[in-house]
């Protein structure tokens, strides 16, 4: 858990000298570091990120910092998360080929990953704020979630391999602890690092007074923390996705851990819903409806691609110990009921996690730009209130929101509803 003695954070000035002996770098961008252009572009909270451009190509160099940048060096965070990020990227590349940046080099002592430079990709959250559409976005993300969920579970994996991997990832304690506290618990009481927009007080008071809501949130926390169904990305929001107009990739799985099959799906939908609710602050009336409806289409596309891909994998790759063909197809029986009830449970879980994520991004430590970039605080709190109330509905009624259409209808209703 300690920082290795050799570890030293990179600077743009030193980077050339320190990486000029790494063949995975020089083989791709050129051997003379004097010809490299280095830009630090990290806008996250936990890492240094450099774009290193040489005469022959460009790579990304990502190095973990031993503390959370957002709050200075007062919150130490183990460097070993780079180790888990590397493991996660390798697994995601195998399970959902082409969906994540390729890893060229990993240096455990320096907590450093050299990986594929994505260009001209932009962070999806930026594009959503700017009103840019991405072709095939929902299909890509639904397939990514289905493939990583299914192929990382004992629906597909051999139990011995999966359990060994659970043991490996159990070594990661501090990173899940961040999610556990910031996502599931802090929003529901006056936690030290919380902050929220001033006008939200009445809504926040109501949420925190709701014992049923908090019981459900804690049940979801227990599900998140005590469940090893599959390896999840763990932080699949629109800031962990990069896209062009038609190509999408998933990045930054440093919060990867074993968790519920529906976790990533739920976090993702939450971030689309927050993009949706924030739109009135970013668009004029000429494009608002169209773009908001496009976001809902992306949600629908994600859910339907998830289910279609899950069904396909169920049919073709169900090679693990769970729901074996021996019990169903080999006895001339359909496993459709088993598959569909499992899919229903995954969706219910996802909607619950979705609601929690909508709360924590407005009430806990790490807010998102969709709302944070809204200058008009009255408008901001009005839109955030819609988001908060729909989040509560999802946590409380996930079981009874049985279709994608029901989810979208709910979003449209709250989009017109002012609770403040």
């Amino acid at each position: 858990m300690d920082t290795p003695v050799q570890y030293r954070p990179l600077t743009p000035e030193e980077l050339g000298a320190r990486l000029s002996t790494v063949a995975a770098v020089t083989g791709r961008i050129g051997t003379d570091p004097d010809t490299w252009e280095v830009r630090e572009v990290g806008d996250g909270n936990l890492n240094l990120v450099f774009i290193v451009e040489g005469p022959e190509g460009t790579v990304i160099v990502k190095q973990a910092l031993p503390y959370v940048r957002l709050v200075g060096d007062s919150w130490p965070l183990p460097l070993y998360r780079a180790f888990f990020e590397n493991h996660a990227l390798v697994r995601q590349a195998a399970r959902a080929p082409g969906s994540v940046p390729e890893v060229f080099h990993f240096d455990e002592d320096q907590a450093l990953i050299v990986m594929e430079y994505l260009a001209p990709h932009k962070i999806l959250r930026r594009k959503l704020i700017d009103g840019e559409k991405v072709e095939g976005l929902g299909a890509f993300l639904g397939e990514f979630c289905a493939r990583t969920a299914f192929r990382g579970s004992e629906l597909s994996m051999k139990s011995a391999d999966k359990k060994k991997d659970v043991g490996l990832f159990a070594g990661n304690v501090e990173i899940p602890a961040i999610t556990e506290a910031l996502v599931f618990t802090d929003p529901y009481y006056d936690a030290e690092m919380n902050h929220h927009t001033e006008g939200l007080d009445p809504v926040v008071r109501e949420l925190r007074a709701n014992g049923v809501l908090k019981a459900k949130a804690q049940r979801l926390l227990m599900k998140f923390a005590s469940n090893t169904e599959t390896m999840v990305h763990g932080d699949l929001h629109s800031g962990s996705i990069m896209a062009t107009g038609s190509d999408t990739r998933v990045i930054d799985p440093e919060f990867a851990q074993y968790g519920p099959l529906g976790f990533d799906l739920g976090m993702l939908i939450a971030n689309f819903l927050m993009a949706y609710f924030s739109q009135p602050a970013h668009r004029g009336p000429e494009s608002l409806d169209d773009y908001q409806e496009w976001i809902l289409e992306v949600i629908a596309g994600t859910l339907s691609a998830f289910e279609a891909e899950f069904r396909q994998l169920w049919k073709t790759e169900r090679t693990g110990m769970l729901y074996p063909a021996a019990l169903f197809e080999d006895q001339g029986q359909s496993s459709d009921f088993a598959r569909d009830t499992l899919l229903e449970e995954i969706r219910t879980d996802a909607f619950g996690f979705c609601g929690i994520e909508m709360h924590r991004r407005t009430l806990s430590l790490a807010h998102n730009a969709d709302f944070e970039e809204i200058g008009d605080k009255t408008l901001k709190s009005r839109l955030e209130a819609r988001n908060l109330i729909m989040g509560a509905d999802l946590v409380l009624k996930a079981h009874s929101i049985n279709t994608t259409e029901a989810l979208l209808t709910l979003a449209r209703q709250f989009n017109k509803k002012d609770v403040l």
Copy 2:
């Protein structure tokens, strides 16, 4: 995973020479092995068990075998399960003091545990077949399940300690694999090692044709295999319990693993229900009703002690990250709803696992003496059929069996019902 080179199974003849240098043994029973009386008493499938009696005392020596005894040495089984058994005994002793035999010595290379000799305790299954009552049985077992479940979970433990322990137990792959296959899957198809009483064919056919039942059984398997709520005993049947007329202990946690909070409770109730259904073969009419009703009282007592103790621990030892007081009591709010819905879920899970255990003990590899000792095969299959059908009811309707009384009523109904 390999057998250590030093490992050699004990024989009664060699035992004295090999243990005479172990202070934990000689300090308790006397230093001269020539004065020891050694009896091999193992009636299990996986281990050698010796009672070693010296002039000053008696100890139990349990040594794991590298294969499953029941099927000869054709089914290799790693010796490291003794390592996990030792770890489990130590944790259970801390969490439920006085409930398990004390460990005096553990030798990892020899997969050997020297522990407290329980006398005049008998295996509970034997007592149930013989019609002997045990005072305070339900209360003891309910408390054992509640204490080990609660204190081994993140309701109580610090997350870092619990996750480290999950990592440790993730090293155990082959043992959970036995439960996964034999308990959850084999009963529901014509698996190689299965056997069942001849007359049961129509019932078995019906169970195996029920796609909903199999879907639910597999969902419970996923819950068992992908859930780390707490450290469970993993094999808590009446053969893993020893008792006198008034003192009870739990033994043999070599199947310990992380699993659902309600797992042990469900397995235990299943074994009492099987004892209940088998009684007409073991008792005359003069004592049948009385003893059967006593077994149901034990089930009721187990469930009510479990809930009472869980509530007590919730109130006094809720020191983990789950359902923290910060969200409830510290805000002047009750956590009763949260606790009661969690208890309901635990009970539902338990009833589901209970039904599965009732099936596998009549259909899969390892049957239990309650039914196996019935010589009259027609009677045997008639009683086993009641057990099977009630098991199916539990798996299918666990959600709607909301009270202990509903469970007992169901048992009484099936006890009078002939399906063959």
